[in-house]
Symmetry: none
Subunit: 415 residues, 2 copies
C-alpha cells in the first residue's frame, strides 16, 4: 500500500511552525508497514490543495490530508477533497455531534461558523475527534482511500493512533511491525552511557540508539519482526544486558517519568513527601502534582524565594543563612528537614541554588545547586552544577532532586 | 518569483528526523519576499526525485532541493537534476576543491566515493560549503533557477543565508519583506475573538490570523511591503483597531508572556506577590519564577495540597473548609488572603480546584477552579470551568490566575 501525505497550512509555508505531524505520521505508517512515498505541503488555498489531492491519487493508494478542518474560511480540506473527487458535501450526524458536543461540554454557544465542520464529502464517514471540534473523514473512492485529519498535533497524533491505523488494517497493511522500547536513565550523562554500552551500539536488528535530553538519557531499542511478540523477544536479551550494566540509573521505560516512578514507590510504601524550593520556584511541586493521585502522598510544598520565607516557613536558622549564605549545603539540609517537619512528612526535599541569569558570583556561579534530602531524619545533600538557561537549570535541578529521591527510596526503604 | 522546495531523504519519510530545514527555508524566503507555494518530501530514489523536480519546474520559477549531495549511492540529487534537465554531469573545479579541502584539513585520505561530489550538471556553478564536503549547485536553465543544497541543518542553514539569498537578489527577488506582529490575548476564547474581529479577518495585506492555544489566543498581523518600516506602518492602523475592541484582553505582543507582563508591572509599581496553590500544584509559582529578576517582587508560595496545610500555612479556618469544602469560593478567598498575610505581600493569589482525572463529583466536576485574588485587602474570586487533561487544566488555571492578576494590577494600581 503506497501512501502520500498532504499537509495544509500557510503557517507551514511561512516557516512559522515546524511540521512535526509529518515526522509523527511517517513513523506511525512505517511501524504499520505502510510505505509513505511522498509528503507535500501546500497553503490554505482551495485550488492548490485540490491539485495536490488530484496529483496524489494518481500515484498513491492512500492519501492523508492533515489540517484545514477548522471552522474558518481558511479551512478548505473538506471542500478540496469534494472538488477533487466531484462529490457533494453533505451534513454528517456524527461530525455534527462532534462539534456540538464540544461546545456543550464548555457550556458555550456554538458560533454558526462551526456548522461547516458537520459537512463531509458524500460517501465518507466521520472519524470521532474527542480532542477538538473537527471530526476527521475516511472515504473510499474508486479504489483509493482518502483521510482528512485535523492539524493541531494534540488532535492529529491521537487520531492517527486511535482512528486511522485500526481502520487501515483490513486494507493489507503488511504484517511486519517495528517495535521500540525505551529505557530511561537519570544520574548519568550521555557520554558515560555511550561508554558503558559502546559494544552494543552497532547492532542492526535490534538497534540501540541513545538520545540525550536535559537531565535524562533515553535508550531506544528497536526490532523489526513479523509481529510484536517476536520483536519483543528480540529486544529482551539486549535490555537485560543493558540493565546489568546500568541498573542504578535506569529509572523506568517507555512513557515513565521520574516523577511518576517516584510517585508509585511513595504510594506503594505509604511514604509522604513535602518539598521546599528556592531556585526551582515551584517546578518540583508542579512535576510531582502532574501525576494523577499524587495527593495520596504529596502533602505540599513551600516556595521560599526570600530569606524571610526560609526562616518563617521552614525554620531555617538566621545564623545558618548568615554564616553560609542562602545557597549552601547547610541551608539545603535545613530546608529539607524544615519542610519535612512543618508538613509532618516522612520525606522532605530542599533545593537552593542560582538559576541565573543574574545572581552568580565567582564562588557561587549560576548553575550551582544544592539538593537536600531528609528521609525519616537521615539527611543527605548533593552538590550539583548545571549548565544552561534559567528554565533549563530549573528543570535539571528538579530532575536531580527526583533522581536522588528515587535512588534513596528504592534502596533505603526497600522491604 | 514563485518557489517550490524539495526535501530528499528516506529518514524524513520514515519520520526518524523532523524536517526543520523546511521551516527554516520557508521563513528565510518569506523574509526575502519570495513566495514558497509548495514543499515536497521524497525518498532517496532517482526516479521519484527526478519526477518531483520535473513537476516543480512546470509550476515554479525557483526550485530548491535540500539533501542528497553526500558521497553514497543513496545521494542522488545531482543525478536527478541532470536527468530532469537532460544535462550531463561534469567535474567542477570548485566542487572538487570543496571536498578535497575538507579531507586535507582533517589530514585524512579521501575515499574515492567522495569524488562524485565534484560533479555538477553542465552549465551550473558550485556553491562553496565551508561546513562539509558537499558543494551546493546553482543552475539557470530555460528561465528557471535550480538550487541544490546539502541536507544537514548545520550546513543547509548557513548556505541558505550566506550563498543562496545573495545570489537570488539580481533575479528580481522583489525587495519586498514580510513583517509580522503578534498580539496576545487571554480571558477570551477563540470564537469570541473571531466574532469580535470578523470583519477584519479577510484582509489580504495586512492579513490577520488568529491561533488558539490553551488559555491564550494569538493574533498574527502580517504585512508585505518594500521594507520593514513600511510594513510596520501598514500594520499599525489594524493593530489600533483591534486594540480598541479587545483592549481588556490584549496583554502583550510578540514574545511577551503573561507571567512576564505581570512581572514587569509588579516590578515597576513595587508590588510584592505571594501565591497559594492547591490544584495547580506549584505551576503558578514555577511560571512566575521563570522570569529572570522575579525575586524582586515574588516572595514565595505555598503548595497546600492537604487541608492541614491550608489551615496551618494559610490560616484557612477549619470551619470554612467544613462548611464549603476545599474547592469553594470561600476557601479560594481565604487562601489568597492567608498567603498574602503570611508572606506580608501586597498581593495574594489563591487557587483551588479539581484537576482530575479523579476527584470530581456532579456538583463539583473535574475542571472546576476557583481563583482568589487579594490586592491590598480587596478580595475577589473568579469561578472558572476548564476542559482538558490534568496538565492542561493546571495550565489553564494558572493562565486564568495570571490574567485576573494582570487585569487588576493594570486597573486598580494604575497611577
Amino acid at each position: 500500500m503506497l501512501a502520500e501525505a498532504i499537509f495544509t497550512g500557510t503557517e507551514l509555508l511561512l516557516g512559522q511552525i515546524v511540521n512535526t505531524n509529518a515526522a509523527f505520521l511517517s513513523k506511525q505508517l512505517a511501524a504499520a508497514g505502510i510505505s509513505l512515498y511522498r509528503q507535500v505541503v501546500v497553503g490554505d488555498n482551495l485550488e492548490r490543495l485540490r491539485e495536490a489531492i488530484d496529483d496524489a491519487r494518481r500515484r498513491a493508494d492512500l492519501i492523508i490530508v492533515s489540517g484545514g478542518l477548522g471552522p474558518t474560511e481558511d479551512d478548505l480540506s473538506r471542500e478540496a477533497l469534494a472538488a477533487a473527487l466531484h462529490l457533494p458535501l453533505v451534513e454528517d450526524q456524527k461530525a455534527r455531534e462532534n462539534v456540538t458536543r464540544y461546545f456543550a461540554a464548555r457550556q458555550r454557544p456554538m458560533p454558526s461558523s462551526n456548522l461547516k465542520q458537520a459537512l463531509i464529502p458524500a460517501g465518507g464517514r466521520a472519524l470521532d475527534n474527542p480532542y477538538g471540534t473537527a471530526a476527521g473523514v475516511f472515504l473510499e473512492h474508486e479504489g483509493k482511500i482518502f483521510v482528512l485529519l485535523p492539524g493541531p498535533p494534540r488532535e492529529f497524533e491521537p487520531m492517527v493512533r486511535e482512528q486511522l491505523l485500526p481502520l487501515l488494517e483490513p486494507y493489507g497493511a503488511r504484517r511486519e511491525v517495528i517495535f521500540s522500547r525505551v529505557l530511561k536513565i537519570a544520574g548519568l550523562g550521555e557520554s558515560a552511557v555511550e561508554e558503558a554500552l559502546k559494544d552494543l551500539l552497532h547492532g542492526t536488528n535490534p538497534t540501540l540508539a541513545p538520545l540525550a535530553k536535559p537531565g535524562e538519557v533515553t535508550l531506544r531499542l528497536t526490532a523489526r519482526a513479523a509481529d510484536t511478540e517476536k520483536a519483543q523477544q528480540m529486544i529482551r536479551p539486549l535490555e537485560e544486558n543493558i540493565r546489568r550494566r546500568l541498573n542504578d540509573y535506569i529509572f523506568g521505560s517507555d512513557e515513565d517519568t521520574l516523577e511518576g516512578v517516584v510517585g508509585s514507590i511513595l504510594a506503594e510504601r505509604r511514604l509522604s513527601l513535602a518539598v521546599a524550593e528556592s531556585c526551582t520556584g515551584g517546578l518540583l511541586a508542579h512535576r510531582i502534582t502532574n501525576i494523577p493521585g499524587s495527593s495520596d502522598y504529596f502533602l505540599g510544598g513551600v516556595v521560599a524565594y526570600s530569606n524571610e520565607a526560609k526562616i518563617k516557613f521552614l525554620g531555617v536558622a538566621p545564623e545558618t543563612l548568615a554564616a553560609h549564605g542562602a545557597v549552601s549545603r547547610e541551608v539545603a539540609a535545613a530546608m529539607a528537614r524544615g519542610v519535612r517537619r512543618a508538613f509532618s512528612a516522612a520525606i522532605g526535599v530542599g533545593i537552593t541554588g542560582i538559576a541565573g541569569p543574574g545572581g552568580g558570583t565567582p564562588a557561587k556561579p549560576v548553575g550551582l545547586v544544592y539538593i537536600g534530602l531528609d528521609v525519616q531524619d537521615l539527611v543527605e545533600v548533593q552538590r550539583e552544577f548545571f549548565v544552561g538557561e534559567r528554565e533549563n537549570i530549573k528543570w535539571q535541578a528538579t530532575q536531580g532532586a527526583l533522581y536522588l529521591l528515587w535512588r534513596h527510596i528504592r534502596q533505603f526503604c526497600s522491604p
